[in-house]
């Protein structure tokens, strides 16, 4: 029995703007299940008294000074997008979202 449902996979795919077929839903649910099971195994480790961490390197307070550096040439910036107009990225209309 999968711990993650097809519906949950479909929801995640929608949040990530991924188009997923019905067959893929089943396949991904199975694969994600393996990952979740592995996490469960990890969760069995006794971590009492161990600080949670989000960073692998023991660095704090890494800052830069407020000094401008060159940006990319605009052509290079726009080259990363599929479509441009008026020196801007051109994207399909978005409905039901805020401006």
């Amino acid at each position: 029995m999968s711990t993650i449902s097809r519906e949950e996979v479909a929801h995640l795919a929608r949040l990530a703007r991924l188009e997923v077929t019905d067959d893929e839903l089943d396949a991904f649910a199975g694969q994600l299940d393996v990952i979740l099971q592995s996490m469960k195994t990890l969760a069995e480790v006794d971590t009492d008294g161990v600080q949670p961490t989000s960073h692998a390197v023991p660095l704090v307070n890494v800052f830069r000074e407020d000094q401008p550096q060159p940006s990319l040439p605009r052509d290079a910036v726009l080259a990363g997008g599929p479509d441009t107009a008026e020196d801007r990225f051109r994207v399909p209309r978005i409905l039901d979202e805020e401006a």
Partner: protein, 495 residues
């Protein structure tokens, strides 16, 4: 559509609960996580780099100046500064962020638990601050193909990422209950106070009309003794006046729905400047699934207590202190000073006094005639087409006896119409007081001759009767005489 209640009806039945979320763009020279410049009005997509675009291998590094500015804001708002804090990724897909996430803060904001006190109608309202956190601004989207330039009806959008990555401070209040009928004024006063505090710190130009201070207004209603209602979040509220109007409108709209037995949906709404109304935006239900997680590319921050105290010691005079100082210097009573603050005229009057006007004169113009003009045109006082130096010049002309109040008002007409400085307007429109004593004496002689009975009364000692003759002279000189001088001439002639 249900008919709206009047605001007065609404607040008789329901108690509003306010909440305010304010975004302030910092005016650092570079962006939050990279060295791209932040100049306003640059050519589209010329201040963009691999970090802005989250290209593979790009490594963001936090801007020290932005961290310091945020800590200063937190301190000025009486917050506790975190001793351990980190950034988080807020994941969402929307073309205004090329990274498909916004770097923000989640459970560990830089500053927490502060407050701001505002005075409305002589009452102190304490607005509690839940958190102050640091994030990055989004790109600018231009909607094309629609008739209104807004997102609805647009066929496509064009995106400029110059603004994406500029440091943005978000300041969130706790819910503010208990303001009753004063809710709109409290919301406005809070926003104005916040703006003034941040401006005094010199970390942002906090210009609402340019979007460097942006406001979201949360509002719910409940009946006395009942639980708080469902709130709506109104976005796009871009002036102090709009903050007030948005609260007022939501109170009226929600109360009408509740009266009709309908429910309020938790939703984002848009404020429309032209009509003062709000309309529904996207539904919140799914949009809040942001899957935050700690940002792995940015090191955690541990602001040392020494650093925080150094920043605290560097804080300038805050608006409240400044107002107390100015109130004393201008010799104003509490009520008059409150009127000055409510009219958003502190800076204007200070600058007018600095330009040489006596405080009383500066206060009189800004709170009187100029406030009236602003109200008539539905504009903020600060947006009037007359500046403090011009008001000081106008007052100087009155002090010199070159203008009387009536003429001064006509000069204001001209200045507001863009005809130049007060002196230029007075000259072009021929609005100087008649100071030619010969001309005044002739006018007085004519007035006496035309009103012999009145003249006799004055000769008999009834000086109050002089008003009739002064009126006649003013009429004859089309208002361009100095009433005091005319009175003196009349009394000299008839005694």
């Amino acid at each position: 559509m249900t008919k709206l209640n009047t605001f007065e009806q609404a607040v008789e039945t329901y108690e509003p609960v306010l909440g305010l979320e304010t975004h302030i763009e910092l005016d650092t020279r570079t962006k939050m996580f990279c060295g791209c410049a932040t100049a306003f009005g640059a050519e589209p997509n010329t201040q963009v780099c691999p970090v802005c675009l989250a290209l593979p291998g790009a490594l963001p590094v936090a801007n020290r100046a932005a961290i310091e500015a945020t800590i200063k804001i937190g301190l000025a708002l009486n917050c506790t500064i975190a001793s351990w804090t980190r950034f988080a990724r807020k994941n969402y897909f929307y073309p205004d962020m090329p990274k498909n996430f916004q770097t923000s803060q989640y459970e560990e904001p830089l500053c927490e638990d502060g407050y701001v006190e505002v005075v409305v109608d002589g009452e102190v309202h304490r607005v509690e601050i839940e958190r102050v956190h640091l994030e990055e601004d989004t790109g600018k989207t231009l909607h094309v193909g629609g008739t209104t330039g807004r997102i609805h009806g647009a066929t496509e959008s064009l995106v400029d990422y110059n603004r994406a990555g500029i440091p943005l401070v978000e300041i969130v209040t706790r819910p503010v209950p208990g303001t009753g009928a004063l809710a709109p004024e409290v919301a406005r006063a809070y926003t104005a106070e916040l703006r003034d505090i941040v401006r005094s710190l010199g970390v942002s130009d906090v210009r609402m009309e340019q979007g460097s201070l942006r406001c979201d207004v949360n509002l719910s209603l409940n009946k006395p003794g009942e639980e708080w209602g469902t709130r709506t979040e109104t976005k796009n509220v871009n002036s102090l006046r709009s903050v007030e109007r948005a609260v007022r409108y939501e109170v009226r709209r929600q109360s009408a729905l509740l009266d009709a037995g309908e429910r309020i949906f938790q939703e984002t709404r848009h404020f429309h400047e032209a009509t003062g109304e709000t309309s529904p935006g996207r539904s919140k239900e799914e949009a809040t699934d942001y899957r935050y997680f700690p940002e792995p590319d940015l090191a955690v921050m541990e602001p040392s207590r020494e650093w925080v105290e150094e920043l605290r010691a560097s804080l300038p005079e805050l608006p409240r202190k400044r107002r107390e100082r100015l109130q004393a210097a201008w010799a104003l009573g509490d009520k008059d000073m409150q009127s000055v603050v409510n009219a958003d005229a502190v800076d204007l009057i200070e600058a007018t006094v600095a330009a040489g006007a006596a405080p009383a004169g500066a206060v009189k113009w800004w709170l009187g005639e100029l406030s009236r003009r602003a109200n008539e045109s539905g504009a903020e006082l600060t947006a009037l087409a007359i500046d403090p130096a011009q008001v000081a010049e106008l007052q100087a002309m009155v002090d010199d006896g070159r203008l009387n109040d009536k003429l001064a008002r006509q000069v204001i007409d001209g200045v507001l119409a863009g005809e130049g400085s007060p002196a230029e307007v007075a000259q072009k429109r021929g609005l100087e007081v008649v100071s030619d004593t010969g001309a005044l004496e002739t006018a007085v002689d004519e007035a006496i001759a035309a009103n012999p009975a009145v003249a006799d009364k004055i000769r008999g000692g009834t000086h109050a009767a002089a008003g009739v003759l002064i009126g006649a002279v003013m009429k004859a000189t089309k208002g361009q005489a100095d009433a005091g001088a005319v009175r003196q001439i009349i009394l000299d002639k008839l005694s």
